[in-house]
């Protein structure tokens, strides 16, 4: 017989933990977290640098410390969790098949499901980097795990491709552990990481960042012996004659994160081709009633504080759904349109009757824009017009809509978030 829970949370990282605590506080009874790793906390456990929690706790915590705050919340509330447990399958009616060493393979029926599986790193293959396939090519996150969790050096002389935050953090970490980081190359004309990480992880250590640059060859048949970088033109094609050779034994890749949605897809959750995460409404509920999503599985965040906040919303809404069936059968809402430089929004639809007093809409822009305005329209009326000195794809943006404004507007066709010059 399948065991029954009110809410099952897939993933015990920052999103899953915050969702669990919030669901409990909102009155959900039987909650279960399923975590595939050997401890709660997710990827925060390997992020031993500080800078986490400024928004949430007004402190600069390390990743494990930040995780610990939420693990305590889960422990205090005596919320059940299973470690080393892999979810093998989920169905649209929220039957979950999971597996671990102790319980074997087992089924669970969930009143609501919260997807909180996080994201994974893009591998080399996704970029088609030519060359040999020797040892010494790691994603930045794999290298981070080897260094921070296991105490091993994956290499001595390092070139990093991609300036995502993990790549920047690993440039500093490898340097502090005694490696020589020679250069960080970024394909785009701008960094994919936070400005503060460029300053604190590269500039402070004299590590050059080369923009509009990529790896065009990897040498070494057994272990990496060197890489060749080249400048790229506007369409990302290498420019002949700009090649530069670097001797190194390691190439770290920080070339993007992909929400981990294999299970979501399997159960029939509708996905956004832009975020590669589920399409959700104001309650962070997917097209499947009672299935919610939050954190990096929904869209890749820069700051864990926002993950926790978002997860809290998913947790509360899941609890509400279980208690009252709120919103079931009412799938359509006002579409939120992303345009003119805005790539996507989360959420992408709003059902005003289920909205809180204020609704945070998060999004990313498609390029670097200076001295522009972030605007939000309810119907044709501009409600938000915020001047920005600079916006870039590496930094998530947000606008906050008021429920009273939406209600006052009556029946509008859509809400639009866009960038404007004036």
């Amino acid at each position: 017989m399948a065991e029954k829970y009110d809410i099952v949370i897939i993933g015990g990282g920052p999103a899953g933990l915050a969702a669990a605590a919030a669901a409990y506080d909102a009155g959900a009874g039987k909650i279960l977290i399923l975590e595939r790793d050997r401890m709660l906390g997710g990827i925060l456990n390997q992020c031993i640098h500080n800078g986490f929690g400024l928004h949430t706790f007004n402190e600069e915590l390390t990743g494990p410390e930040y995780a610990d705050r939420f693990i305590r919340k889960v422990e205090e509330r005596k919320i059940e969790y299973k470690l080393n447990t892999m979810v093998m399958n989920m169905t649209a009616d929220r039957t979950i098949t999971a597996m671990n060493r102790e319980d074997g393979m087992f089924d669970i029926e969930a009143g609501a499901v919260i997807l909180a599986m996080g994201c994974r790193e893009r591998p080399r293959g996704a970029l088609n980097i030519p060359g040999y396939r020797p040892a010494g090519i790691f994603t930045a996150g794999t290298a981070q795990r080897l260094v921070n969790m296991e105490g091993f050096m994956p290499g001595r002389e390092v070139v990093i491709l991609g300036s995502g935050d993990i790549g920047l953090i690993m440039a500093r970490r490898m340097t502090l552990e005694g490696a020589k980081v020679k250069v960080v190359a970024e394909l785009m004309p701008y960094s994919g990481g936070l400005k503060r990480n460029i300053v604190q992880c590269l500039d402070d250590f004299g590590i050059p960042l080369k923009l509009s640059t990529t790896v065009v060859d990897i040498e070494g048949k057994e272990r990496v012996e060197g890489v060749t970088l080249a400048k790229v033109d506007g369409s990302g094609k290498p420019i002949p004659g700009t090649e530069e050779h670097y001797t190194c034994d390691t190439l770290l890749l920080s070339v993007g994160l992909i929400p981990e949605n294999d299970l979501s897809r399997q159960m029939g959750v509708e996905m956004s081709p832009v975020t590669r995460g589920p399409v959700v409404n104001e309650s962070l509920e997917t097209n499947l009633p009672g299935v919610f999503a939050c954190g990096n599985v929904l869209h890749v965040h820069d700051l864990v504080d926002f993950v926790s906040e978002e997860a809290g919303i998913a947790g509360r809404n899941a609890a509400e759904y279980v208690k009252t069936g709120r919103g079931a059968g009412k799938e359509s809402g006002i579409p939120v349109i992303a345009k003119d430089g805005v790539r996507y929004t989360v959420p992408s639809s709003i059902r005003p009757e289920f909205m809180n007093d204020r609704l945070v809409i998060r999004f990313r822009v498609g390029g670097v824009y200076r001295n522009c305005y972030i605007s939000a329209y309810i119907g044709s009326e501009r409600k938000i017009h915020k001047k920005c000195r600079i916006v870039a794809p590496g930094e998530m943006q947000q606008v906050i809509l008021q429920k009273k404004d939406i209600e006052a507007a009556g029946s509008v066709e859509n809400v639009t978030v866009c960038l404007e010059q004036e």
Partner: protein
């Protein structure tokens, strides 16, 4: 003195070893790699060709058709994946349609069964993603796909179980004639042997030239491939070829035995026999040529690219014969495509040559069956529960993308000729072969190898043997 020494544990060498191990004879297999299946056999199109390509009358034609016929039975006997999905040679220019008939005729002469021409209408029904230019195709229902790693490893394992003695990390550096046979010099000492089978792949010319005045020259012909995620695995249902050209069968698009989509190869003659690097031009060529036969290939789903080397020899046929000026030395050389398909027949042919020469008798206790690594995905929920109760390691997922358990990895390490590297584990279990390309599972597989393999620490774990170490020291050790 050993009776037979086989140089090379690729798919040919392993097939010979397996077939020969049916007889009362001592067999030694020398492999310079750290694992079997570490050269050409691991990087190819993984196709069981029907046999209409080779010129009638050649060894290639004969052994291809024979190998294809043996594949199904062998795959069951040795428990490796083989799916008879058929192949289509697609013609995209109505003026060239005659070439399909030529191929059809050639196939019939070679003894290929079931060949027929399909016109566009039927073709589109069979393959909705076929190019809009496709006007007709040659359909070969007997073509299929195999897992080349598992096939190679299965034959080697079975040979080992039947007494063949495998020496890995053992490179042949010279061969001398001695009374009654040869002395094979290696980096790990000398082996005296009556017979030698030269199955050294792209290096077969070097081995041949150690004993014969009649020099051989093998040209490594590089082929680059792109592998796409399983989400793209249904884009085509059979293997789609273009009309063959001077350099071979051209770029194909095919599902793999594990449900990915494979696109390639290019064909470029190179100098370096270890030149398995991919190139920007090569990968671009694969993209361009594949779109001639199949439309809308979802290239966003590429998870890796790789290159393999075909062992091309000027005679353009397999060279399987006792060398005229070196008795008891048998070449198994120039085994380029369709070498993988032909290998079971090559094994039989060479084993029978040696049997006849040495007057060998069959063993009574030959073990024909080999059980592959247990795949829990093939079990029912009930069976899986029972398995985990008995062996909890089968409840522990190590590779998330391919859902590979610790139990399977332990099996891969501890069975005969077990895995000793990340790639060894990968080829046996598929751990690390999924969409994250081992980003997540490699530290865990490294831990398991370090724990399970005697005298191996985390520092010794390699990607694929030799100097391919993954860890170079401990943190702060140079500060």
């Amino acid at each position: 003195m050993v009776d037979v020494t086989i140089i090379g544990a690729g798919v040919s060498g392993s097939a010979v070893a397996r077939e020969l191990s049916r007889y009362k004879v001592s067999i030694c297999v020398l492999e310079k790699g750290e694992d079997v299946c570490s050269g050409t056999s691991k990087a190819n199109s993984a196709i069981a060709h029907a046999g209409y390509d080779a010129r009638p009358g050649t060894l290639m034609a004969k052994l291809n058709v024979e190998g294809n016929r043996m594949m199904e039975t062998l795959s069951k006997e040795l428990d490796f994946p083989f799916l008879k999905i058929g192949s289509l040679v697609v013609c995209t220019d109505s003026e060239e349609k005659e070439k399909l008939n030529d191929l059809l005729e050639r196939g019939r002469q070679n003894g290929v069964e079931g060949l027929r021409i399909v016109e566009r209408e039927e073709l589109v029904r069979m393959e909705p993603n076929i190019s809009d230019q496709a006007c007709a195709a040659l359909y070969a229902p007997t073509a299929g796909i195999v897992c080349p790693f598992m096939m190679n490893i299965a034959m080697a394992e079975n040979a080992a179980v039947n007494g063949a003695d495998f020496h890995l990390n053992t490179e042949v550096t010279g061969i001398r004639r001695i009374r009654g046979g040869y002395a094979v010099e290696t980096n790990h000492g000398e082996i005296e042997t009556r017979y030698i089978v030269n199955a050294a792949g792209v290096h077969a010319d070097e081995i041949h030239n150690m004993v014969s005045a009649d020099k051989m020259h093998i040209i490594p012909r590089r082929g680059e491939y792109l592998l796409l995620d399983k989400s793209a695995g249904n884009h085509v249902h059979s293997t789609i070829f273009m009309l063959p050209g001077k350099m071979g069968k051209g770029v194909l698009v095919t599902p793999t035995a594990h449900g990915n989509l494979l696109v390639g190869p290019t064909a470029v003659n190179i100098e370096d026999k270890e030149g398995t690097n991919t190139t920007r031009e090569g990968l671009a060529e694969v993209l361009a040529k594949s779109s001639q036969t199949v439309k809308n290939i979802p290239y966003r789903e590429v998870i890796t690219s790789f290159a393999g080397l075909r062992a091309f020899e000027e005679r353009d046929d397999f060279i399987i014969e006792e060398v005229a000026d070196a008795p008891q030395f048998i070449d198994c050389a120039g085994i380029e495509s369709p070498g993988l398909t032909s290998s079971p027949a090559i094994g039989v042919m060479i084993a029978e040559m040696i049997r006849d020469k040495m007057g060998l008798e069959k063993k009574e206790n030959f073990i024909a069956k080999r059980k592959g690594i247990l795949d829990p995905k093939k079990l029912s929920k009930e069976e899986r529960r029972e398995l985990i109760k008995k062996h909890p390691a089968y409840g522990n997922i190590i590779c998330r993308c391919e859902m590979i358990t610790e139990g399977e990895i332990l099996d891969a390490i501890h069975r005969p000729l077990g895995a000793r590297s990340l790639d060894g584990v990968k080829r046996r279990t598929r751990a690390g072969m999924g969409r994250c390309q081992s980003g997540f599972c490699s530290p865990r597989v490294m831990e398991i190898l370090a724990r399970e393999v005697p005298d191996m620490t985390m520092m010794d774990v390699t990607k694929c043997g030799g100097d391919s170490k993954l860890i170079v020291g401990e943190i702060k050790d140079r500060l």
